[in-house]
Symmetry: C2
Subunit: 204 residues, 2 copies
């Protein structure tokens, strides 16, 4: 329970025990920033974000000294959300259903984050430490969902999960027209049907 006898709590990613109010403000800032970045883009006014979160500019800058740090935090939060959703679905739904649902969420999620597209791409290309930490966890979570469905026999076993994820990402990239929402949904369904095709058990 307690291992902080020595004072070297400098673990690479120390989850320092923030004070309750600090943690509240931090979370709220990330939440508001995610919305702002998604709609306005990553150039959204930091002061506006602070204002909407109900804190002063000083608080924002204390938590996130630069815009980049805030962007990273938002990205990390979103990734965690996707993984958590996968876990939750895996626990509460049938494998087949969980997979289909998560795929829809993934594309919908990506599409709403249009504003962050460019900077995320930059982040991925740079050698940011963030990437090392979050890289791969989404594909991993997705693979796990697919494996479960394969085991249940509702989708075919001969499809590479990375390929499917890549396809989903492409859909997001192409989400530009006025009706991209519906089209994306249909495309995802199509992919899901492809997975079902020739499975050992019919899936509803």
């Amino acid at each position: 329970m307690q291992s902080d006898r020595t004072s070297h709590n400098q673990t690479p990613i120390a989850d320092k025990p923030l004070r309750a109010d600090a943690r509240r403000n931090r979370d709220r800032l990330i939440e508001v920033a995610a919305k702002a970045f998604a709609s306005t883009g990553v150039d959204a006014s930091l002061e506006a974000i602070a204002r909407e979160a109900g804190v002063g500019a000083g608080t924002l800058y204390r938590h996130f000294p630069t815009r980049e740090v805030l962007i990273e935090a938002v990205y990390r939060h979103e990734v965690e959300g996707l993984v958590a959703a996968a876990d939750e679905l895996a626990r509460t739904r049938e494998p087949n259903e969980a997979l289909a649902e998560w795929m829809q969420r993934f594309v919908g999620y990506m599409a709403t984050k249009r504003g962050m597209r460019d900077s995320l791409r930059l982040l991925l290309e740079s050698n940011s430490p963030l990437f090392a930490q979050t890289s791969g966890v989404v594909p991993l979570a997705f693979k796990s969902l697919m494996d479960k469905a394969v085991q249940a026999g509702t989708i075919r076993p001969d499809v590479n999960s990375a390929d499917v994820l890549h396809a989903l990402s492409s859909i997001y990239s192409a989400s530009d027209g006025p009706d991209w929402q519906d089209r994306s949904r249909r495309l995802v369904s199509l992919i899901m049907d492809g997975l079902r095709y020739g499975a050992s058990r019919a899936s509803k």
Copy 2:
């Protein structure tokens, strides 16, 4: 004298006939900006530049809508200056002397522009149209100076001008210590002596 009968003066790089006051302000802005960029770096306050040039912010932004445009203009101006100096020296001095003098100027010039180093490198790497227009004129001017000295017999003929220019650039890059000024001067002299070594005629 006048070829503007038709209204298509949209040459790629139109040297539009600016009004006298506009041209004055423009030149003054470039001059001040060059100094500011060299000392403070390319992040120098644009408002400060406008103030020092004795014009309003509006005037600066009308001439140079973005910081990048201003940087480009400064760079272009500097390149033109170097080329003009080469022409002038070639006309008014002995080939041998002209070459030595220009080399010293080149290094001195580069050294004072430390603040622009990074952004210039960026400019060179990017596919800015600026580069296509100015690329090569400095090496060309330098080669011309060297050729004249070779013809006069005061330097040896078997040295590649591009190599020498590259050496001069290196000196500039290494100009970091407290006495870089003197050291640079000595290094340039050394290179010049190397060029003289074994020339057909002794040069003073």
